[in-house]
């Protein structure tokens, strides 16, 4: 008998033929008639092929194939990975012409979707048993999926926390997080000591907390960071020509917390109790009264204050043009060209990194280390 597909095609052929006749008799011009006759012929040809192939319906010729053929296997379930891959591909293309971060996210999505899609496709062909295939997929993918998802989750939590912390002021921050901490403690107690608490309630509280955190993080990120007070550094002190002050400045706060290198320094410079400044150059025997520094090279020295008062070490490189707020030189105005350590307590050490681009023989004034407030503390610097 005719199959469903054949019936449709035969019917379409008949309709096209009738339409061609009606069109030819009622309308002027032959183009429509030719088109409809062509359609009738094409549909007739397809109907003939379909009749011969019987809709490619194996079951109509071989009933056993319904249960034994490859096509009889369960169809794969719906998958989100093609959509994710398409989204990734789109982001990659958009990222190429917009922002690198879009490209990176797109690439990650594309690679992840490709890997997941491949694993899923492979697992669906593992056997005829859908549950077994799902189990196979889980065994392969979960060891990777779980850590990655956990890392993403932790990352979101940390990022949200950090945005909230940076948004809140220095005074309100501890209060807010104190309250949140107390709340978590209370909820923890309730969960621990309540016998009748349902799992659904715990899940709901957890989801609400997570959503609250993420929402707060997003809101804080949009709100921006609070205004952070820039802590003055010795670099800023040097730029203002203020290194030679014997007084403590804001740059000297927390000086004792500064980390100093202890090995392979160019020199260790010591301010002795008698007010002399002497150096020990690595590899050179004994204390010396001149430090040799390689030209145009990041140089590290350590200052050791063995005097009885807090002092800072200053590298005096002469003078330099003063700059205005826009960084342009102020004509005719010079300020000291210096680098300096933080104020160093007696017995303490400080670290100083600097680079001198011009040989000392070409310097208008000799390079030297000095200690403000101690006139006898002078140490020549030679730059070959």
């Amino acid at each position: 008998m005719f199959t469903f597909g054949s019936k449709v095609l035969i019917g379409a052929t008949v309709v096209a033929t009738i339409a061609a006749i009606v069109y030819g008799l009622t309308q002027e011009g032959s183009l429509g008639t030719v088109g409809l006759i062509s359609a009738a012929l094409g549909l007739g040809l397809l109907a003939g092929v379909n009749l011969y192939a019987r809709d490619s319906d194996v079951s109509s010729m071989d009933a056993a194939a319904l249960t034994e053929s490859a096509a009889a296997r369960p169809t794969p379930g719906p998958s989100m990975w093609p959509i994710v891959a398409a989204l990734g591909g789109t982001l990659v293309v958009i990222g190429l012409v917009s922002f690198p971060v879009v490209f990176i996210f797109g690439l990650i999505a594309l690679l992840a979707a490709t890997a997941e899609w491949m694993v899923q496709a492979w697992s669906e062909r593992a056997s005829g048993d859908v549950r077994f295939n799902a189990d196979v997929r889980s065994r392969l993918a979960h060891p990777l999926e779980f850590p990655v998802l956990a890392a993403i989750g932790v990352g979101i939590i940390i990022y949200s926390f950090s945005r909230i912390m940076l948004f809140l002021s220095k005074t309100s921050g501890p209060a807010v997080f104190g309250v949140i901490g107390a709340l978590i403690l209370v909820v923890g107690f309730i969960v621990a000591f309540s016998d009748s608490l349902r799992a659904g309630a715990i899940a709901t509280v957890s989801v609400v907390a997570a959503l609250g955190l993420v929402t707060g993080g997003v809101a804080a990120a949009l709100g921006g960071e609070r205004e952070l007070h820039p802590h003055e550094t010795t670099g800023a002190l040097a730029a203002d020509g203020g290194c030679d002050t014997p007084d403590e400045t804001e740059a000297d706060e927390h000086a004792s917390q500064t980390v100093a290198a202890k090995a392979n320094l160019t020199a260790e410079i010591t301010l002795n109790e008698d007010g002399t400044l002497l150096a020990h150059n690595l590899g050179v025997q004994g204390e010396i009264d001149e430090v040799v520094v390689t030209r145009a090279n990041p140089t590290n020295i350590q200052f050791r204050n063995e005097s009885t008062e807090s002092r800072r070490l200053v590298l005096d490189l002469g003078t330099q043009p003063e700059l205005d707020e826009e960084g342009n030189e102020i004509e005719g105005s010079e300020i000291p060209n210096q680098r300096c350590t933080q104020m160093t307590e007696d017995g303490g050490t400080q670290f100083l990194t600097f680079s001198i681009p011009v040989a000392s023989s070409y310097a208008p004034t000799p390079y030297r280390f000095i200690v403000p407030g101690v006139d006898t503390a002078v140490l020549e610097v030679e730059v070959p």
């Binding site: 090995a263 392979n264 320094l265 160019t266 150059n281 690595l282 590899g283 050179v284 025997q285 001149e290 040799v292 390689t294 030209r295 145009a296 090279n297 990041p298 140089t299 590290n300 990194t353 680079s355 681009p357 011009v358 040989a359 023989s361 070409y362 030679e382 070959p384």
Partner: protein
């Protein structure tokens, strides 16, 4: 596939017209592998007999390298004996107990006496090796007997050498700055204080001592001592970028009198070229084109002011070789090229220890100048040595180059600069 199989598949019986490609059998493959391995091994072994090997650690030329030699020989012997014993034991086990279908022997587990012995024996061997090793390391780290200090600074891709003022080295009252070649007096404990301006480099003159990494922001020391006058070559041994393989250096050892001559020459006042000469024009060209980066001590501009190079404005690592006495050296461009022609350079390399100082101190003469490489270098340096100088690729370095850029010098300007540089000795 056999030959007959191939004939059958072609459907013809005329074997003369059939091309048969036979796959080599297992025995043939084994023979080929054996031949390749054998020939490679023989070539490798023969390379150890090379005489012209200026960077051979097995030819120590100074006290420090000799200490390393005295350590590595016994260690190699001990390691060799251990290797032979292990190989012999494994070979014996493989051949003697090869699977010939015999029944599996009785399986035993644990033999305390043997296990203890095989633990103690290697420990004793390692202790035996460790004691002289530690002693040698301490001896090579010693600085208390230093007689001369030299600073070395690595930079992509050349070495700067400077001699600070000191009482050592026979006394130096004005710093000397040079590059590529370090000149030292023989029989003197020289302490190299090294660092780097950009990335980690490694200083190694194999015939004088072991290698030492030169790290930005840190100072590393290495002792050098040469027994006889001569030229000892080395090269950077820490991958440092594009032209790492072209970052070479030499240590020139001179006897005390020759070293004093060299020193005096380095500190001699600048002599301007005679007026109206090609060199005088070259001086002006040098000031206009080269002195932005290269320092020539004593050079004055038209107004009589010192010309001070400002490489920090043009070079990423903020320095370029000092060319004050360029023609007293015999290499340039990070010691990649010889300033001398091959004939003259061979004369330096082949000079006897007695003659070496005189030959080296001749410096570069017009007859001996390697004009080919120097001209090509001045014509387009980046073509001679891979460097980062393309203006379109200097964004990450704020437009500053790493290496000498293309200067678009005309042939006339090159002639002038060469004439000027030839007098820098």
């Amino acid at each position: 596939m056999t030959r007959q199989d191939a004939v059958d598949q072609t459907g013809t019986s005329d074997t003369r017209t059939v091309s048969v490609r036979r796959m080599p059998g297992p025995s043939r493959v084994r023979r080929r592998v054996t031949a390749v391995v054998g020939v490679s091994g023989a070539v490798l072994l023969a390379s150890a007999c090379a005489k012209d090997a200026p960077q051979d650690t097995w030819q120590p030329a100074g006290e420090n390298a000799q200490k390393i030699q005295d350590l590595q020989w016994p260690v190699f012997v001990i390691a060799g004996v251990v290797m032979l014993i292990v190989f012999a034991a494994v070979g014996y086990a493989v051949i003697r107990f090869k699977d010939r279908g015999q029944p599996i022997p009785e399986q035993t587990h644990g033999k305390p006496a043997l296990e203890i012995a095989l633990t103690i024996l290697p420990a004793l061997i390692l202790i035996g090796v460790a004691i002289p090793t530690v002693g040698t390391l301490m001896a090579l780290s010693k600085t208390s007997d230093t007689e001369c200090y030299v600073n070395v600074t690595g930079q992509q891709w050349w070495w700067e050498v400077d001699y600070p003022t000191q009482e050592g080295c026979g006394g130096i009252d004005t710093p000397i700055v040079t590059s590529g070649q370090m000149v030292i007096p023989i029989g003197t404990n020289v302490l190299v204080r090294g660092t780097s301006r950009d990335v980690i480099h490694s200083w190694w003159i194999p015939r004088l001592n072991g290698k030492r990494d030169m790290v930005p922001g840190r100072v590393q020391t290495v002792r050098l001592e040469a027994d006889q006058p001569g030229m000892y070559s080395g090269q950077c041994t820490e991958f440092c970028g594009l032209s790492h393989a072209n970052m070479r250096m030499e240590v020139i050892a001179l006897n005390a009198a020759d070293f004093e001559t060299w020193k005096a020459n380095q500190l001699a006042p600048y002599e301007a070229p005679e007026r109206d000469t090609l060199a005088a024009t070259g001086e002006a060209t040098f000031i206009a084109q080269c002195s932005r980066c290269h320092q020539v001590d004593g050079l004055l501009d038209a107004d009589g002011n010192p010309v001070i190079a400002q490489p920090q404005d043009y070079v990423w690592s903020e320095a370029a070789p000092n060319l004050t006495n360029l023609m007293t050296r015999n290499t340039f461009a990070g010691a990649m090229f010889d300033l001398l022609t091959s004939v003259c350079m061979d004369r330096v390399w082949d000079a006897s220890p007695e003659e070496f100082g005189a030959v080296y101190l001749e410096g570069v003469t017009l007859d001996c100048l390697n004009q080919v490489d120097l001209r090509e270098w001045l014509r387009n340096a980046p073509e001679k040595k891979p460097m980062y100088t393309d203006p379109e690729e200097l964004g990450p370095t704020d437009g500053k180059t790493r290496g000498m850029p293309y200067l678009a010098l005309s042939e006339d300007q090159i002639d002038q600069v060469i004439a000027y540089l030839l007098e820098r000795k």
